[in-house]
């Protein structure tokens, strides 16, 4: 009887404790949003959000905090990275799911996992040693642009490489979710493999593929160190891919914790952090909703 009671007690206490920990942890995201908002509120009280987002003038000492160049820098780096990574990752994941033999897959998959584990400063280091000189001495001269190599193109390329593993694994999941029967039916009708991929697997699933890509990118969107190490960090609106830019995460990383004596400076930086957080939140929740809906419809 006594033993039974202890066991029961343990069960009750443990489940309450677990509930507490779980509930607290799932609140973390809201706590972060709230905490950042409370700080960022100070600057929102002096200027309206559209003003802050669209102004190009960044002069903290004069109390001017225009985020436009940084937002543009972030968008540019991300778009460039998408441009480099989406086609190659889609092709690779199609190759791995539809064409490659088990042996090749068993060789390549661990390598891609490994790529996922490399720390971002190592990517940055590699970017400085390899990509920066490559852009400076070989690629930019082709187009007739003088550049230091620390520019948007380099940042976009390094970010693209960092996105590879995530993007490959999410799009692989989409292709793997295609039932084997679909493949068989299409091939049995005399389609080539590529026709099967294109017409039976990609076109009907285009929404899922887009959602997977967005999801992959929401993870890379706020990537800081590697991009910051190669993108130049000049607060200007870039006019070509060979110019330096200054993405939001780099702005925060370079300045937060320093120059705290300038009024509102930290509030502005935390507003930048809040923006990053919210953008990631919107994209990842949106993508997930689309993916969930697709799953439900198929089942």
């Amino acid at each position: 009887m006594n033993l039974k009671l202890t066991r029961k007690l343990k069960e009750v206490i443990a489940s309450r404790l677990m509930l507490l920990i779980t509930a607290l942890s799932s609140m973390l995201i809201f706590v972060m949003i709230l905490g950042l908002f409370l700080k960022a509120r100070l600057i929102l009280a002096t200027q309206s959000l559209p003003e802050l987002l669209l102004s190009t003038s960044w002069h903290p000492l004069r109390g001017e905090f225009g985020f436009y160049p940084f937002i543009l820098g972030t968008i540019w780096v991300t778009v460039l990275a998408m441009f480099f990574s989406i086609p190659s990752c889609l092709l690779t994941s199609i190759y791995l799911t539809e064409y490659a033999s088990a042996k090749i897959r068993a060789f390549i998959k661990p390598l891609i996992d490994l790529l996922a584990g490399i720390p971002s400063v190592v990517y940055g280091l590699w970017g400085i040693l390899v990509v920066v000189p490559l852009v400076k001495d070989h690629i930019a001269p082709l187009f007739g642009y003088p550049t230091s190599g620390y520019c948007l193109l380099t940042g976009g390329f390094v970010l693209a490489i960092m996105v590879f593993p995530v993007l490959i694994s999410v799009s692989e999941e989409v292709f793997r979710a295609v039932p084997h029967e679909v493949r068989e039916i299409s091939l049995a009708l005399g389609a080539t493999r590529w026709q099967t991929v294109k017409h039976a697997q990609m076109v009907p699933r285009i929404k899922g593929i887009i959602a997977a890509i967005v999801l992959g990118f929401s993870r890379a969107f706020g990537e800081t160190m590697a991009v910051m190490m190669v993108v130049g960090n000049v607060a200007q609106v870039p006019s070509s891919v060979f110019q330096p830019a200054y993405p939001l995460p780099a702005l925060i990383a370079n300045n937060y914790g320093e120059m705290m004596s300038i009024p509102l400076y930290d509030a502005a930086l935390l507003l930048a952090a809040l923006l990053l957080l919210l953008i990631v939140l919107v994209f990842s929740v949106g993508a997930r909703i689309v993916l969930l809906r697709i799953e439900r419809r198929v089942v």
């Binding site: 443990a14 489940s15 190759y95 661990p110 584990g117 400063v121 493999r193 590529w194 993870r219 914790g257």
Partner: protein, 281 residues
């Protein structure tokens, strides 16, 4: 060859090319970093702290960063395991479906939150509490960063455990807690370890989250309230200096970091293959 065959050959060629390029880039990264850094791994590099002044000094090694990183990563892995494991258990058995999917969604979102945001948020809290950059701050922020990764990875492997196993355990009269601890956890043990290693790897390599919170120093921290250096920040800061001798330490730090990451990945692979032998399929 008709058009269809040409198209097939063309796209197959493209696919193979992009796969080769991606794998090639991986090897290029490994090769460049290892070739550049490995020759610099001398005994003094591994066993000495930097000599002569604030990280511009010429002599010495990066022991401060190695020790700092190990403190940070082990501390955070330990803390996040303590939190993540109960959550993963709770999600298996206790949470009703709606609540569970809400928790999973919120963890998935956390997983995507940029690490710089963790860093900024963490440091804001520390300022509020009157703390300056220190080992403890770094450990706590890294814990937050690792938490969603570890929890979701554990959750996924535990979900794979067949429901029949749990039922068998109930059938002999165990409570839910006992079933979870004795059957589900044991069955999922290799996966749980892999999840821990995965989070450890992420944690030890992350720089942006500890940039403000752990700080950087030439010394080995003696208490939780001392600032702590770390390998990723060593790469970042030392590379930014104009002195080639100091930059060399950045390369060395990158190699050590890479070796640690590669070995965790290899270990987790070995663990999985070795341990799954004892798991009922």
């Amino acid at each position: 060859m008709d058009r269809r065959q040409l198209e097939e050959a063309f796209f197959k060629g493209l696919m193979i090319a992009s796969t080769v390029i991606i794998v090639g880039i991986l090897f290029a990264i490994l090769a460049v970093v290892l070739l550049k850094g490995a020759p610099l791994l001398s005994l003094s590099m591994l066993t000495q702290t930097p000599k002569g002044g604030y990280y511009l000094g010429k002599g010495g090694g990066i022991l401060n960063a190695i020790i700092g990183s190990l403190y940070l990563a082990f501390g955070a892995t330990f803390l996040s395991f303590i939190i993540a494991f109960p959550i993963a258990l709770y999600l298996q058995e206790y949470a009703r479906n709606r609540f569970a999917s809400f928790v999973r969604l919120s963890l998935d979102i956390l997983w995507g939150v940029p690490s710089i945001v963790y860093g900024a948020f963490g440091f804001t809290i520390m300022l509020y509490l009157g703390l300056r950059a220190c080992l403890l701050g770094g450990i706590i922020v890294l814990t937050l960063l690792m938490l969603p990764i570890m929890t979701r990875a554990m959750d996924e492997v535990m979900r794979m455990v067949p429901h029949e196993l749990r039922e068998t355990s109930y059938a002999v009269g165990s409570t839910r807690l006992e079933a979870l601890l004795r059957v589900v956890s044991r069955q999922a043990l290799p996966g749980i370890l892999t999840a821990v290693l995965l989070a450890f790897g992420r944690g030890i390599g992350d720089a942006a989250s500890i940039l403000f919170t752990a700080g950087y120093t030439d010394h080995i921290p003696h208490s939780l309230f001392d600032p702590a250096a770390s390998l990723p920040l060593a790469v970042f800061f030392l590379l930014g200096t104009p002195l080639p001798e100091v930059q060399e330490r950045a390369y060395a730090a990158a190699v050590i970091l890479l070796v640690i990451i590669l070995s965790t990945s290899v270990i987790s692979r070995l663990l999985t293959t070795k341990w799954t032998k004892f798991v009922i399929k």
